[in-house]
């Protein structure tokens, strides 16, 4: 399949949804979640397993499909090789729009520095990723969605995709959040500023952020989901993670990173790394495919 067709392809609608099948105790739950999402978005379902193809695994997968009444046409891809690379390649070949996988909420130190499958995919995937921290056999309700509206060209795509997703799963609330990084302010204003000036500068940053949020969200239907906006002071990535945790969000939506994150990014943690080291809830990483060549 010509993978260059992915270039410029919008991040939604979700025509093909894939599931990374890991034969873990969460398999049935994640299959249920995938079926529900495929039903909601009227998407084709693709099951991808990276590992040895055995009759036992095939039987187990068939049993789950039967149990969950997955009666639409489901394709299963069995492939070998490096998990991350193979999943990425398979998604590209099958024009996957959304890849669903199970992810740990918190990583131990060893895994943090070496990187998990979810981490590898989050940085390199050419499709959107849905990381489910606690998939349920009864299905997750994505009532409250928090969207990271950081200053970036990809943010509008992430927000649009969040609205599409929210409509599909019948969410109640969307909170558009912009983080205002105050790095440099203490240093710039430490010597020759009055307290009034300092307060004014900080308030102005928040006002500017709120105005930009209103520009982004204006003109959207206000019935369901209800849209709220907030500008928060703090470190990008970390602040929205804390916010999503504290407000009990069911889904955090962010845009995909611009480049690959490496070991240095994990040592000097920033942005997405703050979220991945401790997922506050389920997470949707929207890949906008702006200018993707592959």
């Amino acid at each position: 399949m010509d993978s260059s067709r992915l270039k410029g392809r919008p991040s939604f609608p979700f025509e093909t949804i894939a599931v990374a099948v890991a034969f873990s105790p969460k398999l049935e739950a994640i299959m249920h979640e995938a079926r529900q999402l495929a039903d909601n978005f009227k998407a084709k379902l693709l099951l991808i397993h990276v590992g040895t193809h055995t009759a036992e695994k095939e039987a187990s997968l068939a049993a789950i499909c039967t149990n969950l009444k997955i009666n639409r046409e489901v394709r299963t891809v069995w492939a070998g090789g490096d998990t991350v690379s193979t999943l990425l390649e398979t998604c590209k070949q099958h024009m996957v729009d959304l890849l669903i996988l199970s992810a740990r909420r918190r990583e131990n130190v060893f895994r943090y520095y070496l990187g998990s499958v979810a981490r590898g995919l989050s940085r390199r995937a050419k499709c959107s990723l849905l990381l489910l921290t606690e998939p349920k056999v009864t299905g997750t309700s994505f009532r409250k969605i928090v969207v990271d509206c950081v200053e970036h060209p990809k943010t509008i795509h992430a927000l649009n995709t969040a609205f599409y997703f929210a409509e599909g799963v019948k969410s109640l609330d969307i909170m558009a959040i912009r983080e205002v990084d105050q790095s440099g302010l203490a240093m710039a204003m430490s010597d020759d500023s009055t307290s009034g000036e300092r307060t004014r500068v900080k308030e102005q940053l928040i006002i500017d952020a709120q105005e930009k949020l209103h520009e982004l969200t204006s003109g959207r239907s206000s019935e369901k989901p209800a849209v709220q906006t907030a500008a928060l002071s703090g470190r990008p990535g970390f602040t929205i993670r804390k916010y999503a945790e504290e407000c009990g969000a069911d889904l955090l939506v962010i845009h995909s990173p611009d480049g690959r994150y490496r070991l240095m990014d994990r040592i000097f943690t920033h942005d997405l790394e703050h979220i991945l080291e401790h997922l506050p809830c389920n997470m949707l990483i929207v890949h906008a495919r702006i200018g993707d060549a592959t």
Binding site: I267, F268, T269
Partner: protein, 414 residues
């Protein structure tokens, strides 16, 4: 234990209070006409020091600052000045976030490298091939160290000055502002590490073994603090900020860790400033450090210790006697050309337009208080002579004052 005599204490307290009050008045006046705060402090140093007061009223000068006559006074004030520079480097590190550099990818990398390599290479080459231009004897044991120092002095930037300029121009939170800040972070982190290496070499008499030992010690300490130290800080800071009294707990821990690191690096024959700087980097990078705590530390250091340190510079050197127009011009041309061209090329290669690349170059050209601290430490270590020291201070002031209007010129030109 040796003690200050009551009269010594009176003189010391009088000197400190005069420094603080006069420098604050000068800074506030300077602020009204748009001059950096450090300029007011330096001017007070020049007025109170040998340049003016020492010439006009030598008796009064000797009564107020009896450096030569009273060793107790001299020692006590020197300890305060040393503590000041250690804490200044600590708060400089506190505000540097290496992740800012990583976040902005290609353009920050090329600008950061460009704004370091060319200034360093040009400064080093000029000092190496033409030491006589700086009144330095070529081929001597300090020739190489002087060349390395001049390269480093040209390569660093003054993040506080740059941040202030960007804030005033409403550019701090824009892409161009982020690139300038990220590049300045790289300049400062590498610049101060290289400078610590140079200072450690001054102290170790230049043997080959000591070069390797210095490099290994610096690398091991920085790695330990930035990986293991940060890991520990990230785990104990939330506890300290919630369970201990606020802000006493976090202030005591942060300043204690700063002085502990400074003591350790001094003990292993690297200068104390590196320990303080790296401790600042490790603490400042933590997401758990509240912005208010950061502000308190900044206020405490920049409003008490910084005036003492910058005024002390004027107390040490006679600026009129040591002003050498040739060296000042040379240092100024070197500073402007190296930084603006180097950073400009880097930003251009990173994908910025020519106009924006030049604005980035002029933005990074501001050297401010960081250059003055660097020059002062090099002067104390005997790396540079009076004339080069004065030239570096003039350069720091000129680059800081000219940075904003020159940036504006290129950003507003359509």
């Amino acid at each position: 234990m040796a003690k200050l005599q009551p009269n010594d204490l009176v003189t010391l307290l009088l000197a400190i209070s005069i420094i603080l009050i006069l420098s604050r008045i000068a800074s506030e006046i300077g602020k009204k006409i748009g001059l950096p705060m450090v300029m007011g402090e330096l001017i007070i140093g020049v007025i109170l020091g040998p340049t003016l007061l020492g010439t006009i009223a030598p008796e009064f000068y000797r009564t107020l600052f009896p450096f030569a006559e009273n060793s107790n006074f001299s020692l006590a004030l020197d300890a305060i000045f040393s503590l000041s520079v250690i804490l200044l480097l600590f708060v400089a590190g506190l505000e540097l976030r290496f992740s800012l550099f990583l976040r902005h990818g290609r353009v920050a990398i090329s600008t950061g490298i460009g704004s370091m390599v060319l200034p360093f290479a040009s400064g080093f080459a000029l000092a190496w091939f033409f030491p006589q231009w700086f009144s330095v004897t070529g081929g001597g044991p300090t020739h190489l160290l002087f060349a390395l120092f001049l390269g480093t002095a040209m390569a660093i930037s003054a993040l506080p000055v740059i941040a202030r300029i960007l804030l005033d121009m409403k550019l701090l939170k824009t892409e161009i502002g982020a690139v300038i800040i990220a590049s300045a972070v790289l300049n400062d982190v590498i610049g101060w590490i290289v400078f610590s290496f140079i200072l450690s070499m001054v102290g170790q008499n230049n043997g080959h073994g000591s070069v390797v030992l210095s490099i290994v010690s610096i690398a091991a300490f920085a790695t330990f603090m930035l990986v293991f130290g940060r890991f520990v800080i990230n785990r104990i800071l939330p506890w300290i900020q919630t369970k201990l009294s606020w802000p006493g707990g976090v202030l005591a821990l942060s300043l204690g860790l700063c002085l502990l690191s400074a003591a350790f690096t001094e003990y292993i024959h690297i200068h104390a400033i590196l320990g303080a700087f790296i401790a600042g980097l490790a603490i400042g990078d933590s997401v758990y450090l509240r912005e208010q705590a950061r502000e308190i530390m900044h206020q405490f250091v920049t409003n008490f210790f910084a005036p003492l340190f910058f005024v002390s510079i004027g107390l040490k050197v006679n600026f009129i006697e040591n002003f050498d127009l040739t060296i000042v011009t040379l240092v100024l041309v070197l500073a402007f050309a190296g930084k603006v061209v180097g950073a400009g090329i880097g930003a251009r290669l990173g994908g910025m337009s020519g106009r924006h690349a030049l604005a980035v170059g002029f933005g990074l050209n501001a050297r401010g208080a960081m250059e003055i601290i660097l020059g002062s430490l090099a002067y104390e270590a005997g790396l540079i002579n009076h004339a080069v020291f004065v030239a570096l201070i003039v350069m720091a002031l000129v680059t800081s004052i000219s940075s904003a209007p020159l940036m504006r010129l290129f950003l507003e030109k359509k």
